[in-house]
Symmetry: C2
Subunit: 229 residues, 2 copies
């Protein structure tokens, strides 16, 4: 008996979370289409990491789509606003990019429909990124509902599934999940504001979360940090 | 007393419909941010029309954002699939671009949030474009719900309004509305497959609708067509 494997589109940013989410798509038996958005993010080493990850996971195709969100401004990740280095603060961080996950999921949806894929994977998690509105389960559920109304496939009775397998994981859980899946975390990139020499800065919110995740998971962190808090 | 006018982001494709929708944003008292997407559409004369329209309507800023949707394939408007010339057929047309309006509204939402705008205008209408799932009122309503969950502004209690003022208009209604608003339809572009010399082809679905709209409205059509059906 031949088992037909279906395509899935996974958003691969280059970070640890989306690497684990994309690996889950493979574990779920999907052939992989990897989508990365070159949105003029300041931390461009992410995209090099995304290429390594797509290759490692055996993606059938990896599209790095240029989309210059910096023309809109409004975020420390694309505009000339300082990335905080003194630890997480309350509320929605300045590293929030307006409507980013809505935009990225829309693009993944477009590719999925064109390619005949029905499964989308995104590495959001609601625990460590509770400050980002578009990382919450209610956002993911609403997007799944929208996708059904928005597309020819949805209208014709073949709706899309939006998978956010890390939804309820802490960073420590994600580090352990990467380990379980046999992934080398060293090829991923988390830092918002790289130090000279292509090192993780060690001080931005994203680096702090990564460091804490490995500590809490009790696993060796293979990342090279410039400084530690 | 000073009346504060608020910003609105209008999607301006260069077509007649989005020109009328953007003009309605102005009539509603908004200052205008015009957004056009250069998605490698075959009918690139649209973008020149978009520039004329943004200028005519006094947009404070006009962004023409490059976004190459042709990498995904799947549509006669971006891929090497023939544009039909023998009149509308049943079902969803091959000129449907997967998830296009979801992608475009997401981008408009990103700009709106970054700029402090709360109103988005899009020129979809459900009557003449009933074959396109992402032109229907239920899609627009779902996107408005998503926008509230997806954004910092929405979460903080300042949700977005998605205006589709042409929703229930026929093309004839839209032609009359353009006339009422004093807009010169000649500066807009509708054709999916321009004829040599930069003329509207006169035969594609979009040209047929435009021709019929002027006829039914009983108004003079200023458009130069290469051929007529």
């Amino acid at each position: 008996m031949t088992v037909e494997t279906t395509l899935a589109v996974a958003l691969v940013s280059g970070g640890l979370d989306s690497m684990v989410a994309a690996a889950r798509a493979r574990e779920d038996g999907h052939r992989l289409l990897a989508l990365s958005i070159d949105y003029n993010q300041r931390h461009r080493l992410e995209l090099a990491a995304a290429r390594r990850i797509a290759k490692l996971l055996g993606a059938e195709r990896h599209i790095v789509l240029p989309l210059d969100l910096s023309v809109f401004g409004g975020s420390a990740l694309t505009a000339d606003i300082a990335v905080p280095k003194d630890g997480p603060s309350d509320g929605i961080p300045v590293t929030y990019v307006p409507a980013r996950n809505t935009i990225f999921l829309s693009l993944a949806l477009g590719w999925a429909e064109a390619a005949g894929a029905r499964d989308l994977y995104i590495g959001v998690n609601a625990l460590d990124y509770s400050g980002y509105p578009d990382c919450r389960p209610e956002f993911i559920a609403a997007f799944e509902g929208l996708a059904e109304l928005a597309t020819k496939a949805g209208v014709e009775g073949a709706p899309f599934r939006i998978h956010a397998p890390l939804q309820n994981m802490t960073k420590a859980d994600i580090v352990r999940e990467a380990d379980r899946l046999g992934l080398d975390a060293a090829i991923s990139w988390s830092c918002y504001d790289p130090a000279p020499g292509g090192l993780h800065c060690g001080l931005c919110d994203s680096c702090r979360l990564r460091i804490k995740g490995f500590e809490e998971a009790g696993l060796v962190d293979p990342t090279h940090y410039a400084l530690s808090a």
